[in-house]
Symmetry: C2
Subunit: 337 residues, 2 copies
């Protein structure tokens, strides 16, 4: 599928979804829309993702199947300066894919244009309707289920899941990702936004995805969310932990982080506390153990990063890596049997 | 407020909501509707709740302000054999209060009748619209926050919260209940059905209620839900634990229970494991300790019950009681300073 990615005024540093899609998705990205960087190319800014021209707007984009909204303003609303590009895409018969809190399908003009031009508005944050409570059977699937868990939000759980699954596939293993957040869903082209489901169905929504894929693959890498001690988001984390009935956990952390992002009054517990909490909480439902660690060292120099990863591995008593900086070999050797 | 309670064919043993309202709510119950027991009285069946005549249907009920649906079929749907009573209530200008999954306000006939007769359809399972994520500030309120937590669903958390709050008030303390489930909400006349909110807002919905009441009272008894190791419902439990930022926890258990109800493959961990899990999981967000226990011994003889409670207190290292059988004195002495 050929797509364009909208990232006005935010590419690349504030365009996490756009970067995730450029790095991991199977789409052919024909262009990135950013009126601030038009005329340059993706690889002028970021080296390790697929390249594409950066253009002013949809009028400068050739044939594509879909326009994907690759940024999100604070609050998740729709920025009216994007309307012309979305309108043009729909008029040309392109689908539009969005992970905004604001649902494009509920916008009258977009709904009418989509109907008129026979194209789809895919709001990935909208959970599907037939969810229900978990049956406690995710553990019955054939696949080994490997869940990324974290010490906080935004420490790299999505990235780690994607890197591990891709490298496992490259090494000849049959591995798939279970996407639970909007970027993961856009990359994989399916999934359920677990933070948007009814709270009673949190575990059930994860279980449903595990059951759907668990007998088709040998390894499932489940994208985790939040942290088990996050003052706001721990419910989602707990539901994913029990709903996935994971066999192995990969603890994701950012080097040097000491407090919960946005909740600075709350200090992070020790790494050992996280290990005990995740394992002890999982145990009555599924015997999951933390068998590897992933450390985000992006703000450190190379030699500091190496040392930080080594210390993290020692704290965990398990192999660790910064998967972007040092690759996934050490982790996959432990995770894949 | 004067009400009638609909409990057709299920009073009293399969009418948990009706019994809760009869036992704890401030409403004057004028009649219970149960076509199977019509002609008898509530106290012919249950001795420790307010009395009322049991009648065939709304035509046999005098002046009331509201009809409350006091039963729920499996699945939470609307039983069409109740339609005539709901219709009659609305035609007479009574509000109708329902905790069904099926929303009365979405029934065309009921919506039209309610509009016509200027009365309200209150679907208590429908969360209000302006929920958001928690700020991690429930701990800032003046009140001491006491949360009931459980080893499983249906072990008495709602009952224990209600008994403790009532007896504390009777002893002269300023105590209120924070209701989180449909029966609690019906009893208190306000609240938020935490199991129906968007999972990202689970903690936030609890925090909102704590902030609303926390500076008006000295003690808040928060109605807990589920269990932290429940394969389906743990997300809700975790969100309430962190969202309430409780000071004290009361661990509720049913004597002799060995497996999770409806999920019999999952054994209950030891009582000590529950204590450690709840306290360790709470700790990074709020320093909550289990200071008392409540044991449901309803299926035991008196002497067995006494022994079971004593053993439970010993396991917990804290005072314990069956609050229905042996009262709340020992617990309140510990919980209220």
């Amino acid at each position: 599928m050929q797509i364009a990615i909208l990232a006005h005024e935010k590419f690349p540093d504030r365009a996490k979804t756009a970067l995730g899609v450029l790095r991991y998705a199977d789409y052919d990205v024909e262009a990135v829309l950013d009126r601030d960087s038009a005329g340059s190319r993706v690889q002028d800014h970021v080296s390790d993702v697929q390249d594409a021209p950066i253009v002013e707007g949809m009028d400068d984009v050739g044939d594509v199947d879909a326009l994907l909204i690759g940024i999100a303003p604070i609050g998740g609303g729709f920025d009216e300066s994007w309307r012309e590009d979305v309108r043009t895409a729909l008029e040309r018969g392109c689908d539009v894919i969005s992970g905004l809190h604001f649902f494009l399908a509920e916008d009258e003009e977009f709904a009418a244009l989509a109907a008129e031009n026979d194209c789809e508005l895919w709001d990935v944050r909208k959970p599907h309707d037939e969810l229900t409570v978990a049956d406690g059977v995710a553990g019955d699937v054939d696949a080994e289920v490997i869940l990324t868990v974290g010490t906080d939000c935004s420490v790299g759980k999505m990235t780690v899941s994607m890197e591990l699954a891709r490298d496992a596939r490259d090494a000849g293993y049959d591995a798939a990702v279970i996407p639970t957040g909007q970027t993961g869903i856009m990359i994989e082209g399916w999934g359920n936004p677990i933070d948007r489901v009814v709270s009673d169905f949190t575990a059930g929504a994860v279980e449903e995805m595990i059951l759907e894929k668990g007998d088709e693959h040998d390894y499932l890498f489940v994208e985790g969310q939040g942290s088990i001690v996050h003052p706001a988001y721990s419910a989602v984390t707990c539901g994913i932990l029990h709903g996935s009935m994971a066999d192995q956990l990969v603890l994701c952390h950012e080097a040097g982080k000491e407090a919960i992002h946005g909740y600075e009054d709350f200090e992070l517990p020790s790494i050992q506390s996280y290990v005990d909490l995740y394992e002890d909480l999982a145990e009555p439902v599924a015997d999951a153990t933390i068998t590897a660690g992933a450390l985000n060292t992006s703000h450190l120099e190379d030699d500091e990063a190496r040392q930080a990863v080594d210390e993290y591995a020692e704290e965990l008593g398990a192999p660790a890596s910064d998967v972007i900086r040092f690759g996934t070999d050490d982790l996959l050797e432990e995770l894949l049997e």
